[in-house]
Amino acid sequence: MAMAGGIVVILLFIVSLLASWISPYDPNEINLHEVLSNPSFAHLFGTDQLGRDVFSRMIWGAGISLKVGFVATGVAICIGVILGAIAGYYGRWVDTVIMRFVDIMLCFPAFFLILAVIAILEPSIWNIMIVIGLTSWMGITRLVRADFISLKERDFVQAARAIGASDLRIIFRHILPNAMASVLVAATLGVAGAILTESALSFLGIGVQPPTPSWGNILTAGKNNIDIAWWLSLYPGLAILITVLGYNLLGEGIRDSLDPRLK
């Protein structure tokens, strides 16, 4: 199953890299003669309310999803790893302050926080990515902190300290590499979560802004034409489902192979 997930992930990478070669139409080419036409050989997934080819828009949308997923997760990992490492390594009041902050952030419905910030800072793809990242680092912080607490007492850390390594060196060179396994799993699952969040935001019209194609904003068109154009609703959602499923399976697979006990 993890293999299947991996294949989906790799395929998506290839599709989004080759988007300009494999998409049959320009994703933003408006064709008012073919508004909302049914799926056919000319337009595999039909056309939208402006006559744009849905298949081409979805191919370009794949790249957007991937970009959002990776950048948002990257932001979350940077914050999560740094705060988790500091909290776990130094302990005491530093730990208390950081973990309290985590508790506070967890009180906010993430979607509320994201929407509130977007309301203030104009919705744009970069803002979306950063804001999703800023609201999804808490889990990683907890994971990294737990790893650090158990790792810092181990002999190799004592040895590093004995030869006079600095705190910074111990944290990043000695402990962190040993804690990366759980971060990798969390990151893979995090990409899936970020893609879901982005699609929901774009669906609500607060995410990736038209005319830039995204799976979420094609679904908005689907909702507006719900009684006449089912293809606008079906295919983009299916694409999101398969992508998220792919990342989840891959993440679970990595977890199982790293720690067979969890199976």
């Binding site: 506070i104 009180c107 906010f108 979607f111 926080l113 309301a119 699609s199 719900i226 959602g237 399976l249």
Partner: protein
Amino acid sequence: MAPLLVGITIVCFVVIHLAPGSPTDLQTDLNPRVSAEAKARLQSMYDLDKPLYKQYLLWVGKLATLDLGKSFSTDHRPVIDKIMERIPITIIINVLSMALIILVAIPLGVLSAVHQNSLFDKVTAVFVFIGFAVPTFWLALLLMILFGVHLDWLPISGIRSLNYEYLPPFAAFTDLLKHLILPVLLSAFGGLAGLSRYMRSNMLEVIRQDYITTARAKGLSEWVVIYKHALRNALLPVITILGLSIPGLIGGSVIFETIFAIPGMGQLFYMSVMSRDYPVVMGILFIGAVLTLIGNLIADLSYAVADPRIRIA
């Protein structure tokens, strides 16, 4: 509890002040007749001319009396009134979907643990995996197309039909139920997958404990062993998980209430975000976090009720 509440107010305050320029720009920039003095007067009305820490203290002082300011929208009503009239329907939907999650996910998890590796277990596992990955707003769209457009069984927007006031009480009640089916089902969907999977792994762990072997050795029936001895212990951690799922449910209400045009807090939040009605946005952000906090508190208390060992500590 108290430090968390203070933290929540600080985060809300920081979010407000992320805004470039001042919140009053929206009211003044588009209006060429607003003079510099009027702008300054507006600024001092919202305390924006004072240092930040003072603004924070003033704001918290108002919060303590539930004064969340006035909406920027044309009605200029107090934010707290706008939120309060919309909270009940949001809470009803969330409580109903929470009940649905508990009623479905727990038996599902228990059964798949008891019959580990059976066909039922495998089918449930597939369902759970898909449940994790499905964008629920998309599922909502598909169900709207199926039940609302093609089959015409269920209404797809609002919580009442147009002729609601003329219906006899029973018909009015079923009318309300019909409107609530899809939203409740969908907002429960995400939590279902998570909880049933969690329940399964908990149950599997409990079944392997020594006291279960003891119960079996005493000659108790399998039914009593599973549903009396094992289930009670496996259920305990679920309370925490339910508490943790509250922010997700509340956050999800934005999506469902927007899709199904339900006049609840989520829809109000969405509309306020779209129209940059900052006081309402901040008010709901704060109330949403407080609701989560209350939910977690209830979870902690019920944990103590369910597990006598907790009460001592």
